[in-house]
Amino acid sequence: MRKISFLSFSVLLFFAMACNNASSDISESKKSNPAAEKNLASQRIVTDAFQSGDASKIDSAVASDFVGHSEHGDMGRDSLKAMISVMKKQYPDLKMDVLKEVGDDEYVFTLIRMSGTSNGQMGMPAGPYDFHSLEVSKFKDGKAVEHWSYMQPKEMMAMMAPQKDTTKKK
């Protein structure tokens, strides 16, 4: 009898685990998913680095073979670190408000509102800016392996329009 209950118990465990695997594809619960929590924590290290300009913790959150996909081409972890300090230097008053972050065991989506004043460097027209950015990061073993930045077409076009004017005035 004892054997049977042990068997039942292991069967129960097995199904509970199989269930975890089966539904790991899409998830919403960061509280009950340790892998998702780890990914969210790593993503926060990156967000914090952009806010502070301090890239010293990046290696703990970003894999060595990380690829950041940007409109200027793909970049690696070292370029990411360089960008963190360049951004802080060029946009010292950049304010990043995290409006929402959701993650599962492979992806984290972070919706951020960026505001501040641009000095006209790095392709951003001089003057105040206020736009949203959606950071999509893919994780493996709790570290970011890929990243894409998404923007609202309307906000992107608004940022590009004044630039054309500057060129015309030249």
Binding site: M1, S8, S29, D104, L111, K154
Partner: protein
């Protein structure tokens, strides 16, 4: 002892059931009760995705609130405009393939990362020819129905789709 066995056997169907439920609605394996709102939001989000795929907007009212606001690059639009757009997009892009790469939800929001491929006839601001692009649909929910939507795109892919800017110096 018999009681213990019954307890475990009784648990087994429960695990099965909860597993089935969460797999059906493709949500996490956490206790369904704590995720019911997120699950409901995901289900509503899928009704909208399916409507865009099929061109059939008849189920939209069950997933989208009457006071829904769609924030687009052409201004804010309501639920009726959404329905019209579903039919229009299906008509203008009949071979559009929508792959949902990932959906993640919580009690308020659903994020859906999508990959669109197909051929454009040159309508609706999309250059003629094949297209291959990504978008993230950000949808805010209230009481299980969509109340706001924003579309996010990759700047790189967006710039490819836009007509080249006029040469500098020329008007």
């Amino acid at each position: 002892m018999k009681k213990i066995l019954f307890f475990f056997l009784g648990c087994l169907p429960f695990v099965f059931t909860s597993c089935n439920n969460s797999t059906e609605s493709s949500t996490a394996s956490a206790p369904p009760a704590s995720n019911s709102m997120a699950e409901k939001n995901l289900a509503a989000s899928r009704i909208v995705t399916d409507a865009f795929r099929s061109g059939d907007a008849s189920k939209i009212d069950s997933a989208v609130a009457a006071d829904f606001v769609d924030h687009t690059d052409r201004g804010d639009m309501g639920r009726d405009s959404l329905k019209k757009m579903i039919a229009e997009i299906h008509k203008e892009f009949p071979d559009m393939k929508t792959d949902v790469i990932r959906e993640v939800a919580d009690d308020d929001y659903v994020f859906s990362l999508m990959h669109f491929t197909g051929t454009s006839n040159g309508q609706m601001g999309m250059p003629k020819g094949p297209y291959d692009m990504h978008a993230v649909q950000v949808v805010r929910f209230k009481d299980g129905k969509a109340v706001e939507h924003w579309e996010y795109m990759q700047p790189e892919e967006m710039m490819k789709m836009m007509p080249p800017p006029p040469p500098a110096g020329k008007k």
